[in-house]
Symmetry: D2
Subunit: 349 residues, 4 copies
């Protein structure tokens, strides 16, 4: 059974995997690791080498091939860390409906397909296949992590003008993230076929509430990791997701935290996407993130949303990532909270 | 009677005073303005010219001489704005205990006195005098804004080595802010004589919970504005202050907001000081604000704390300022919330 | 007679016009000022308020309406300063062929025309008209300064999608600068009609060797200032122009400086345009200006080219401006050097 | 015989050692490598991880233990690259007086010694010993590379207040670089004993003309590499050094280049140190490098001086490093040019 275990490892520098030992002592079986999801301390933009440093170090530290998503940028109070997601044993003492982890990958996405219906469909088909294989109901999926490809300068230079969705590497990352998120949304029944097309055409109001997508040069297809509840799995982890409607939407997150608290639960990790509102305003007030030529807007957004979420949860080592195309509404973003039932939860049921 | 009125004016650019007309329509008497407290969109550091632009524009727009504190840096969701603090008429229909505003200034602070006991004593004496003059009890003061001088390169160059507290202009701003805050704390009974000296000697655990101090090249003495409750004043504004013990201390601010909410009140403005924890950690987690050579730590801190406070209040046009020496504990900061009684408050009493 | 005089005024801060008095003592007649061309110390990008501060201050200081081009960014050794270009009297003691200044402006450029043939044609027609009016031969023009409009967010929002050349304000500045430069090139016979169209279509190999164009929100048409030699004017100023083929092309500039030196002349001012090579390489070596998400490429380019030109000339208060679309070849830029004949020049002839 | 060979390897990213193969084909014997001196594309400040990435990669690629100095910051036109300095065979066909390389290291520098006379003396003693061992006359040394330790936060925290020269990690790097440079200067007879003490006491007018020092966390003693001429060595490499008196001192470098050119030589590599003039002016003109809170002064300085030196040499892949304490005069820096005799040089003699 693919019951999920999450192990958070603080890191002292980008290549630090020293905390792995502690995670193993806490029960992590490194051979069953499925994904590594980390925050590194670079700028999270083009010349951020900390992501690669961390990915290389963790892939070497973990023998098994794992989906590796390193998100650059620990602005403000955010703290560099890595979460290892692994499979663990079914715990017969715990109630069913536990969190499970399931992964898969699409075939390589051709450059011409990137950012287009083909990529979205490939992601959607893979999400559906993972759900089917693991008997995971779409509505039980609370987090869909996608690592997707981008267009490199070499690829762009080698193609005839106009055949690709963009001739800009940085821009291709946004298109790839967006198409991946829309594929997730379609597979999970969040959006219709028409909405998928509208989203691909640029309608930012079309979004997924559980997708968290990142583009990276090291993959040629889309790698997907799902976290969801399975009635057949027994364990203490659970997840809940919500959507921040804007960058200061404390209410939605507080409500999720209240749900966890009322169950006597303990927050294990929070995964969020954040972005500067593209309209230049938050609750009608002008923000200056998009006009600051000294600090990238994504850095501003991570700092602000990270400050809010760390404040609400009391935990700075959370995952707040930029680049939220079609992940939550414009200026907002999806938030998934993984939590643990209290010790005596099994008995309570 | 010096009953206080606060008028918040969003600005479209640093020199924008166009919103003044709206404030006047809302009841502001520009001839009775006492202070202008704003957030401008520069970097809040050395080469931030937006503070000067805003100060010049507002001083021209308001005929009366006012204490002008422009704080640079609207990182993240923070929104550029100005709050005009003015005197208004006593409102006999309202309950007593209303917020009053009172201002004063010290004699010029000699360069040799800056950052030292002399400056702290001068500030303390002036705070005491203002309180006495306006029959304001120390414990009724909830906000003490100080605009204090700094050491310019010219002044530093003209003095013998070792006679000044520092030979660095930027550093002199921190010393001036710190001494001013300690002076406030001493005058209001927050700290003892020994603690004042310890604070001046570098003990960051000694602090004021209501001081908000800013250094500027345009003053040679310290300008002080107090907001506090007077039993003799009738009006609808009130203030409450708290201290964030660290940059993610949502609890303390939420408690203050709950107090306002339980009284049926409406938040008018929030004034906070923020800083990167000098120990490099928040709740035991490593932060990277102090090691980021691309973005100043003060910018990170404002973005993060601004995101949290905007989230808790729902308002991005709040005052979150950096440079919190002896204003709240290390890594934390004081927060003052000005709020308005509900319409029927008078009747309820 | 519109004989040109150039007065360089170092500035202590963006709004500093204190040096104007010295320039007047040196012979500047402020009533005959035609243009103010300055370097200010902001980041030269979107949120650079120093340009506006300087423009406002100098327009107030000079009664006459002048073409004002403030270029942000004094990276590296570059020094903030302003050059006032004014008309002066014909000096009968000096040889003919002196530098003259002549200005004009186009009709407002409609948003739909910006960046397109219409804008280029309007600039070209105005350049031709100025030349004709002032009997200036195209080949005698050594500097063509253009201040051109941009598309604001409001304008973009108000137009149907697809009617404008771009929906991005920052991008519109590049298009406006490029079309203006191509218009200059066409008027002065540097490029053919077909080349003009190719340039507008994106061919960066089509360029002017004397244009220096800047986009600003404060104009709705294009303001043009030409510096050139007139056989009918007597005076001691001369100009020479060259083109840097890349960002480290010291040779071309040294050659121009040698020409001045061999005539016993003295450099008065240097005007250059600089940019990061869009191909990511300089002389076959990879540069990192375009992948640095912490510092804008334009800042890198000004610092590097400014360092080289200040080194060659021994003068940091020179005009090195970014945004060199169709001004010199890709990665290079035009350079104009204004110089003064030696005292005894008249006698030598 | 320790005849020196220099192999320049352009790199595509910080960990790229792919060019090593080409260097080996060009004659590099990796087993005889003595030093690796590189420029990496990080910010060259505190959070620059590219130096460590490059150092790790090159130390792994080269089996032999080598002195590794990676200098962060390729601002402007500077191009990331590595120079491998190796020993090569004496070439009997070439004239004597060839460039030789010799290395050594001091004992560990205790924290209390760092930045003080003890460190300077240790460096001086080691330089003298290297010279003696390799029969290298002090006046024949043209480049003295020192990799020196710094004070980490842990070390600072563990020592009683006041026992170390500074309680700031970043500041300790400057002290270590300065003491190392002064040690070199003393050993090579550039400065007297009294000048050494004056330099350690802060007199920036005391400096070495050949030292290039870098502080790094990975060493506990000082590693030293000397390049100098030996009458006993035969080969085609030579070196010449000069001092830039300020950041735009093209003349001194041009003179060195002219010397090389007049000998028919070819520049192999240039090593320079650069800094923002601490007085805030270059040739009497105000610069803004020290007041720019968005971009570190060291980045400005490297960009500007790199632009000048790349322009003069026609080569962007040169070594321009920041942090020039006691390396050249304030605002200036030492420059060493390694060059190669023309093919027929032996015959010409």
């Amino acid at each position: 059974m693919n019951v999920a275990a999450l192990h958070r490892v603080p890191v002292d520098h980008p290549a630090d995997t020293g905390g792995l030992l502690g995670a193993i002592k806490d029960g992590l079986d490194p051979d069953r690791a499925v994904a590594v999801i980390g925050k590194t301390e670079g700028n999270g933009c083009v010349n951020d080498f900390t992501r690669g440093m961390a990915a290389t170090a963790w892939q070497a530290a973990l023998a098994a091939p794992v989906v590796t998503v390193m998100s650059g940028g620990t602005e403000g109070v955010l703290s560099p860390h890595v979460v290892v997601v692994a499979e663990t044993d079914d715990d017969a003492d715990q109630p069913p409906g536990a969190l499970v982890v399931a992964a898969g990958r699409t075939a390589p996405v051709a450059p011409e397909e990137l950012g287009r219906r083909e990529q979205a469909d490939a992601v959607a088909a893979t999400v559906r296949r993972i759900c089917r294989t693991h008997q995971l109901a779409p509505e039980d999926v609370h987090f869909a992590l996608v690592k997707c490809p981008l267009l490199t300068s070499d690829v762009i230079a080698a193609r005839p003008t106009g055949t690709l969705i963009t001739a800009d590497t940085y821009d291709s990352m946004a298109h790839s993230r967006g198409a991946s998120a829309l594929g997730v949304a379609h597979a999970l029944g969040e959006i219709s076929d028409a909405e998928l097309d509208a989203g691909l055409a640029g309608d930012r109001r079309v979004f997924s509430s559980v997708a968290s997508t990142s583009a990276g040069v090291e993959v040629d297809g889309c790698e997907i990791v799902l976290l969801g509840h399975s009635p057949r799995a027994r364990g203490r982890l659970r997840a809940i997701h919500t959507v921040m409607v804007d960058a200061i939407d404390a209410r939605s997150v507080q409500k999720a935290l209240d749900t966890i608290a009322s169950a006597g639960g303990r927050l294990v990790q929070l995964f969020a996407k954040a972005e500067a509102d593209p309209a230049g305003r938050v609750r009608g007030r002008r923000h200056t993130m998009l006009t600051d030529s000294d600090v990238q807007a994504t850095r501003h957004a991570r700092a602000a949303v990270g400050g809010l979420l760390a404040g609400l949860t009391g935990e700075p080592a959370i995952y707040v990532s930029g680049g939220a195309e079609h992940q939550g509404p414009p200026g907002g973003g999806p938030v998934t909270l993984v939590w643990e039932l209290p010790d005596g939860a099994a008995q309570m049921r």
